[in-house]
Amino acid sequence: MTAPLLEVRNLCTYLQSGKQHVKAVDGISFSIPKGDTFCLVGESGSGKSISALSVIGLLPSGIASHPHGEILFNGEDLLKLDDMQIRAVRGAKIAMIFQEPMTSLNPVMTIGAQITEALYIHHPEMGADEAQARTIKALEQVQIPDAASRFRNYPHQLSGGQRQRVMIAMALACEPQLLIADEPTTALDVTVQAEILRLIKQLQHDTGMSVLFITHDFGVVAQMAQWVGVMQRGRLVEVGACQTVLQQPQHAYTQQLLAALPENLAKPPVLSNPTQPSTPLLEIQHLKVWFPIKKGVLRRTVDYVRAVDDVSLTINQGEIVALVGESGCGKTTLGRAVLQLEKPTSGSIQLQGHELVGLSERELKPWRKQMQIAFQDPQSSLNPRLLVATTLTEPMKAHGIGHNHDERIELAARLLDSVQLDRDFLWRYPHEFSGGQRQRIGLARALALNPEFIVCDEITSALDVSVQAEILQLLLNIRQQRNLTLLFITHNIGVVEYLSDRTVVMYQGKIVEAGLTAQVCGAPEHAYTQKLLAAVPRLHRLSLGA
């Protein structure tokens, strides 16, 4: 066996914040053989990104310190190099790609110029023609169509997936031996993610480089890694070959993480009985939400963005309907249009047989009580200036629930009980809570008016997998108790399979497939659904399939 390309021994990274030392990375050891992929997996805040930044030496020296440990790259300790020496390694021998393709390219430089700049720095002897030729070759390598003409494009002219390809091309231009990928596909749609993952694997096969891959998604791990390390609070709790760790996890934390995956969660005992006669709660017919595109001096409408284009959908009482699709397919707009937060262009929405489209805000008010919404982003879903108590009691007051302030406070406290939060949380502000707690408060607010119907707009997408599991279980509990009807908007197929009774797939503003979840996910009929499901990184690829 040859010596490993990268060997990290007992690495510690302490971050200084004020007078406190945070042990962001606390004694981790792992090694990456040449040509292999090592996945660092863990929840947010576990120190996986800090570990990667330590390896490439990108942490600000004033804040970060490494009291112990060594990082051996080709047998050379990177921590002992000075700035000049590490610069020769960084970029040339170790390259890095980041999570957010939208912000990691300079918007005022052409992509060609950005890649050639990296080449000039590491190969000063290179001429302009050669640099351009190598850049175009790198762009071709990452399968950017028509690379020669794309050379002069600016980042805004490319899609998210293409930008991530450009980032990879830039990283690969200098032919590094190690590529560090920090959640490179988290911000991308699953189909694009599948392409990027395939690309990285193929490049690795062609060039023989090693990859340090950071992710929180076990599906991606299963697809990419030969070796995997599970991080928890700055420590590597389990390291080993990918198959061994995923199939026979030894450490309790790994077991817990794997158990929290939606596909591994125990199905709740009672799901809605298809034989039981169900009454339609919400009927959507030929709904269109078009946004005008205005051009010219007179602001004439030249075209429309057809966010929701002729959608018909019936949701029955007590059902959980999952609305699946990639970003920009109109699923969020549909959810908001149902609640009349977005005015439909045409079509009809009937709640319990009453038409909602075209009602004024005053006429809508009694119906507002029946239908509520919970949001994706825990940061912006609660008013930061209001106490939790105010957030929960204000809608009650507006709808005349509870006779006085004290009674409403008591009702709000019971709501917190039902989302399994402490009653004292009433007297706190949103910034004092974690993301998961905020999502619970957001749910409590949606429940405050005792609605029939709730739109859940990606409520678990911003959460760690274990927190997601808790929220999903809570949601099923509440639904059992109150006989709620849910429209669950998500892009996560695992969540869909766990939670929903029926699944609706949206693509470019239209519904392409709808049916019972088992049917849609097990035997998809529409070509797009098949593509979408095939792109989902699975933990156990073999156990699924038609």
Partner: protein, 388 residues
């Protein structure tokens, strides 16, 4: 216990925490007291005197309409503080009471038309059995002609009279003028900015929240008002309608709201698509609550910074006008005093230092207050700075 506290009361309590705010409020409080009790603090006539067995109070006899309603409003405000009411109600009651006091004062109070200060130093008054003079025994427009004041005396330069801050070019006591000038500086800053803020928040809020056509029309209105040159408008109005402080306040207010409107519009545009605002809409909350409870407090920070500069700017506008000789003719103002300091052939430090220092302190106080208010509205910031 805290749970009973209303939103406004909590903001107010948090604003009052901290050292900077105490200094600012201390200074502004001093200005308010000076403004309200100016005739009792600096005046040429006795507060109380007894002559031939009859008691008389010339100060009270000579109080004019403004003196009276200011006093009434002040005592009404003090009374309201001790009556347990909600914050909003107190503000409404105070405004109602003040307007009533203004109306009553102008219809009932009839002060003597002509005031000759020299008379109060004549035999009629000096031969009283006993008399109590104000702490500064000179009125702001008493030019001490009978005492042959030459004007522009440095502080404590004269041996026969005490002028703590010297005298100005006409011979009047500077300290007395400083005290009476508080009224103009306080009121022009507050009222002009208040008018501007009110119009700006309403117009900007509607533009930002409804966007579309409302926004387009509103922005054109903003642009029109931005193009009006305040100074030349003031010149025109002074030429047509004469010099009036109230006219100045209204004109400064009506021409300076566009900046606030832009700030508010931007914040509303940004915030109305926030999830918590959408949640408020989805809960069927009334429009006033959505606009002023869920959006405005989250977008108020840039507004407060603009406001503290706006108040300072209005004070300086008045100073500019006085400097150009367009200010109120006889009433003393800090800007006018600064003007004198610049214009005279020699540099008279006391004419520059005292009014300049007062303007500085006032602008500084408004800035401190604005900052404290901004911090109080942001619970996260309050927590971080150890305010809790």
């Amino acid at each position: 216990m805290i749970s009973r506290e209303s939103f406004a009361a909590r903001i107010w309590r948090k604003t009052l925490e901290g050292v900077g705010v105490s200094v600012a409020l201390g200074w502004l409080g001093l200005l308010v007291v000076c403004a309200v009790f100016a005739p009792f603090l600096a005046n040429s006539m006795p507060l109380l005197m007894s002559k031939d067995g009859t008691l008389s109070a010339p100060v009270i006899r000579y109080l004019n309409e403004d003196d009276v309603w200011l006093l009434a409003a002040f005592f009404w405000a003090v009374t309201l503080v001790f009556i347990p009411l909600s914050f909003g109600r107190r503000v409404v009651l105070f405004l109602l009471g003040t307007f009533a006091a203004i109306a009553l004062a102008y219809s009932l109070v009839k002060p003597p038309v002509l005031v000759i200060y020299d008379d109060f130093r004549s035999r009629d008054y000096t031969t009283a059995d006993w008399r109590i003079m104000p702490p500064i025994p000179y009125a702001p427009t008493d030019y001490l002609r009978d005492l042959a004041s030459k004007g522009l005396e440095a502080p404590l330069a004269s041996t026969d009279r005490v002028h703590l801050m010297g005298t100005e070019e006409n011979g009047a006591d500077v300290f007395s003028r400083m005290i009476h000038a508080c009224r103009i500086s306080l009121s022009i800053g507050l009222i002009a900015s208040g008018i501007a803020l009110l119009i700006g928040v309403v117009v900007g809020g509607l533009m930002g929240y409804f966007s579309g056509l409302v926004d387009m029309l509103g922005m054109r209105l903003v642009e029109i008002f931005e193009d009006i040159p305040t100074l030349f408008l003031l010149l025109t109005f002074v030429a047509f309608f004469g010099r009036s402080l109230y006219m100045m306040m209204v004109i400064i207010g009506v021409t300076s709201w566009s900046g606030y409107a832009r700030y508010v519009r931007t914040e509303f545009l940004k915030l109305r698509k926030q999830d918590y605002v959408q949640a408020a809409v989805a809960s069927g909350l009334p429009l006033t609550s959505i606009l002023f409870r869920h959006i405005l407090p989250n977008g108020v920070a840039p507004l407060l910074v603009a406001l503290s500069f706006g108040v300072a700017g209005a004070i300086l506008s008045e100073a500019t006008l006085s400097f150009l000789g367009l200010g109120v003719v006889d009433a003393p103002s800090w800007g006018q005093m600064l003007d004198q300091a610049v214009k005279s052939s020699t540099f008279n430090w006391w004419m520059a230092v005292f009014p300049g220092g007062a303007i500085f302190m006032t602008v500084f106080s408004y800035n401190l207050l604005g900052e404290a208010f901004r911090d109080a509205i942001d619970p996260q910031l309050a927590r971080n700075s150890g305010g809790q």
